[in-house]
């Protein structure tokens, strides 16, 4: 049975952002249906559908809504449209081509969570998208989908767009809330979780654009339809992005659970590598989730038992919420794969990744602030041809001592910063070592002397003895 796209059904439909076009094939019917139910029934429906958050963490939306305190008076819904994970652009497509699908999702989620005001926190760089969405909101307001007594249900909801100022960390839910409140956008300590105390100290739900865009379809097509798509634990459709030197980079909708190989080589997806190159690295979930080895490595003789310790091709990884962990990835993330071909120096990849996190860390946690910076500095040194084998160990050590997983940071940015670095160093250690060997024996010492003679003579023991003179 061929899969019929729902989230992207209006891509390439002319004038798809208009309310009339959206309504012409069943738009806002899901909302109408929801508004006839009790809010808690909608929550239950979403729980049954097992709709897992598309923003990165994959947390079931219905369960998240269930954390809201039952006796609340005010609830806010924050729509996370900050999409700033590097190779990710699926939310952008939704907003550009089908803003009303998002708005309908907001209406349904708002109703289910008894939200009074919905804020769409939008990435600052989305200028055109802002105008498209604002126009859609105006249209929807005029048509009575927002405002007072929506569709005669007695439910009131207002919707505003708040534009960010260009910080990755503002996509983190509490960072988003702080920024929305007009403060410096940096994450809060949890608990309290936003569901209990979020924006303006009130219970708040934060959901990704795509998560919300799924809601109308759950209501119109039913839970069965939704759970019939995807794998056992990961239900529903997903917008996959693929970028890099593939023949057809872009965003494609598929039921959750296609393999990474399919995403790159599938006829409906990337259609293979340009110039017939082989894949060296894939970062399949945005940068933060880690890296897979590409098909320039030999096939795993035992494909059902992936072994991240062995240098095997890992493209058979299934891109759903759970299989990725078998390949030592952090999670599915945004399901946006960036493909690096065989002829790219692995050190370049490392520099690129570490730079991003060093520049985007908000700077409050020691590990994240200093750790991301040191990883970037070390990566630069490696690339400059002055690396040392011990640098690789240091990178692994830093990346392990960073992030929420060991409980050492406030938000997940530092996990996301450490994970791909550790993956790269561990999975591509041979190449790194080879590059270092090519440098010449005293390259590191020479370079350090050149850049910073004082550091070379530094009295810091560990640094001098063990590392400069291996």
């Amino acid at each position: 049975m061929a899969f019929e796209p729902v989230l992207m059904k209006h891509v390439n439909v002319p004038n798809s952002t208009a309310l009339t076009v959206y309504k012409s094939d069943g738009g806002y019917e899901g909302a109408a249906k929801a508004l006839k139910m009790k809010p808690d029934e909608v929550v239950d429906l979403v729980k049954q559908a097992n709709l897992r958050g598309r923003g990165g963490a994959g947390f079931p939306a219905g369960i998240k809504w269930g954390f809201l305190p039952p006796d609340r008076e005010v609830t806010y819904l924050c729509v996370n449209a900050d999409e700033s994970e590097p190779p990710t652009f699926c939310n952008r497509i939704t907003i550009e081509t089908d803003p009303h699908m998002l708005l309908e999702g907001i209406l349904i989620a708002g109703y289910a969570t008894k939200t009074t005001i919905a804020y769409i926190y939008m990435r600052g760089e989305f200028t055109e998208q802002f105008h498209i969405l604002q126009k859609a909101i105006d249209e929807a307001c005029a048509a009575g989908y927002f405002g007072k007594n929506i569709l005669g249900s007695g439910y009131d909801l207002e919707c505003y767009i708040h534009r960010g100022a260009g910080a990755y960390v503002c996509g983190e839910e509490t960072g988003l809330i702080e920024s929305l409140e007009g403060k410096r956008g940096w994450p809060r300590i949890k608990p309290p979780f936003p569901a209990v105390e979020g924006a303006f100290h009130k219970p708040t739900v934060v959901n990704n654009v795509e998560t919300l865009a799924c809601l109308p379809h759950i209501l119109t097509r039913g839970v069965e339809w939704f759970t019939s798509l995807g794998t056992e634990t990961s239900a529903g459709p997903k917008m996959y992005c693929v970028s890099g030197p593939v023949n057809r980079p872009g965003c494609y909708e598929a039921p959750l659970g296609i393999s990474c190989r399919e995403l790159i080589y599938g006829e409906d997806f990337g259609q293979g590598m340009r110039d017939g190159k082989k894949v060296k690295v894939v970062l399949p979930g945005g940068l933060s989730m880690g890296a897979l080895r590409g098909d320039m490595f030999p096939k795993n003789p035992n494909p059902d038992q992936p072994d991240p310790k062995q240098d095997y091709d890992e493209l058979d990884c299934i891109l759903d919420f759970d299989d990725v962990r078998r390949y030592d990835l952090l999670g599915l993330g945004t399901a946006a794969a960036v493909v690096v071909p065989e002829d790219v120096d692995i050190r370049e990849v490392l520099v690129n990744i570490t730079r991003f996190y060093a520049l985007e860390s908000c700077g409050q946690c020691t590990q994240c602030r200093e750790g991301t910076m040191w990883m970037y500095q070390i990566a630069q040194r490696l690339r400059a041809g002055a690396g040392r084998v011990c640098d690789l160990n240091l990178l692994v050590e830093i990346s392990q001592n960073l992030g929420m997983m060991p409980g050492l940071s406030i938000c997940g940015l530092s996990d996301g910063g450490g994970w791909p670095v550790r993956n790269l160093v561990q999975k591509f250690r041979k190449e790194f070592e080879q590059r270092i060997a090519e440098q010449g024996a005293d390259a590191a010492a020479r370079r350090i002397k050149e850049i910073n003679p004082a550091a070379y003579e530094s009295p810091i023991r560990g640094y001098q003895a063990a590392e400069v003179h291996p």
Binding site: L359, S361, Q364, T366, E370, W374, P406
Partner: protein, 861 residues
Amino acid sequence: MSPRKTRLRKMEINHREVSFPEGVTVLRAAELNDVYIPSLCSHKDLTPFGGCRMCIVEIEGMRGYPLACSTVAAEGMKVLTDTAAVREMRKEILQLILSEHPASCLICDEKTECRENQFTIRKAGVTTGCQNCPNDGQCELQEVVEKVGLTDIEYPVYYRGYEAEHDDPFFDRDYNMCILCGRCVRMCQEVRGTGVLAFKFRGPLAQIGPAFAKSHVEAGCEFCGACVSVCPTGALADKVSKWDGQPDGFELSTCPFCGLGCQIELYHKDGRLSKVHPNLDPVVNDGQLCVRGRFSLPEATHHHTRARKPMLRRGKYFREVTWNEALDDVAEKLKGLKPADFLMVVSGDLTNESLYTAQKFVRTCLKSNSIDSTARDLLPGGPGLWAKLFSLPISIKGLREADAIIAVGLDSRFYFSVAGVEIRHALKDGAALITIDPRDSNLARYTNYWLQPTPGQEGAVLKAIANNIRRATDFSPRGAAGKDIAKKTGVDKVLLEEAIGALSAGEHLAVLLGPTVFEYNANEDLVDALLKLAGRKNTSFLPLYNGANTRGVLELGALGEVLPGVAKAKGQGLSLADVISSRAKPKVLYLVGEVPFFERPDCDYIIAQDIYYPPFEIDAFLPAASFAEAEGTLTNVEGRVQELVQIEDLPDGAVAGFMRPDWYIFSRLAERLNSREFKYKSARAVLKEISKTVPGYPAKPNRKPRRLASKAKLPVEKRKAPVAGTGPYLLIAEPAGFGHRGIDLSSKVEGLEELALEEGFRLNPDDLQKLQIEPGENIAISINKLTVTGPTKADAECPHGAIYYYRPVALGGLEQRANLEPLYRLRASPVKVKARAAKATGKKAKKKAASRKIPMAASTL
């Protein structure tokens, strides 16, 4: 809000059962049970930040390493604070912190030898290592490194290369040393409510400072030093004591600069006062201070112009003499004086002991009531009114405990900041604040209701509130009363009604009054309102006045008509006003810690007993001990008798000087006048005598608040009717400046001078434009026949049509502003005036200079 009863709970820390009060964090629970958990970013007054990550622990049932500083302790929790894994992790974290802290010598092998070889003289903030950090030896970071046992770091130390910031007064900032713990930011934001500091940029570029590259002065810094006090590193450091090194110790004392009487820790080094830190005193200041208490003490006593030796005029020369010579000479002059020939003027900043001895000296040795104090000016309305006010329930902490606060006319940025902090605490707990202030003060910025009357009408607004507070619903803005009040005071009537409603909902009410409102001429309304409110249950007051021991002056009878214990004296001596208005011409004038003139008044013999010379010729100078050099007590606004400790006790000498406590000097003079009643061995002995003669005073400083209970019927002064004046502008005097013992502190404390608060006539920028005056240009103000000229300052906080000026509470050190003296003598506020741009050129300028010669003119108004 009564203090919540906290229940004790039990938990296990490192396999030991311990108890803790409900609601505290794991960190606090451990601290209470003497378990050390390293921490760098947490602080008792601040919300958890969770940034430094030093406080990680293991808690059974929790994933990873939760933070002790942000995890609330719970019954039955099992915490391990010192496992091998945690220790390892902490070392790792600390290394990362140190990798951006240019202090590798923290962990250097050579550190002990290095320290010995480090003594070089340096001019400016050198920041390349802990040895050169001003915080060396007193640094929390050093302590944590020691305790964590870090001996090595694997990273090269990255120097950020920021330029050290020296531009603002009082403290230097070198963010190369900063570990981004955010304490200063949270302190400034959460406790001080100032929000000067913020994090700028992000990631490894993150830095602390005012946003948009403003200076601290521009950003509205109060220079309270709270950020400096909580900084765990040497990034922030007092300018004055920066390179003093590790202090030898500290003594708990009382701030000698205002009536709040904050508790301070005086740090000393080699027998000299080095710096001041706030004490975590629970009843007055709770770890907070204002710019005066925090930063001004060392300079106020160590300034190079400090007068340290007894001096006498001998013919043409004013020369150094021995104490005996000086005392003999002065005693000789005082012998056989008629009451009308003598006046002693004492400062309201003297200790209780000195004030008491002063009045006793005048009354027993000179047999007159010719003693007066400038404190009279600081208590406008006279002793009768203030005796009444001091009998009200006065409380500083009342602000924090209140559900509703009325603040009348105070900007707490530089004055009485601690009261401002208390208000912000109350606001955080949900109290309602109503400010009555024509000016946009820092309190008005936080307020729920800002009632903005025309200047001078604050009392009327307060009265309207007092009369209607219980029945907010009846107070209809359409009713005649409401309309009248709105019309009379210029306050929005709907807002007034809402404010009254909000007040009526609160149970505990606190009323705070800034010093300016007492200054107004027609303030019967104010007094009525206060007395009316005094009848209300659960109401506390905080009337603020300048001077540290002004209340002591009243209670100890250092005014001619008042005897110790606020009893009425028989017969009155000379008063200062008599001398200023030339109604009286005493032969001998004895100025004790007071400089009430710009120029030498017409007297035969002037004795000054002070810590600085007055700006005019005198005949005898007796060097008094400053707050750091003598012990004693001060009476704060609540009546607490608080201790001032002696911190400097250097042997007499040419450099250290020959200063003596005031009470001691009076006693030696009394002996020379054959009195036997001054055989005090110490200040404590004087206090003992006070406790016998003045009801309520303790024999030892006990810091208990006292309500004044005086039976004497002192007449409440009828306030003079407002001076009519004509013109479109209202001129308002604000009693201000940083006075101490008659001198304006800004003439001794460099930083205060830099703030230049008192300069100029402040007008709304719109008014300046209307008058076609650029800020800084001169304005001529005509009050009836008197015209004064002075520079202007644009101040958006001033209401339209008003001209504010600071009437200095101390004239000493203000020579350059002598031409404004007529205004300082003016006791009319607010007064209608005319104003125009003054182009002082040629002839006119000369004329202006001539007008200086008529300083008494204003008092005839």
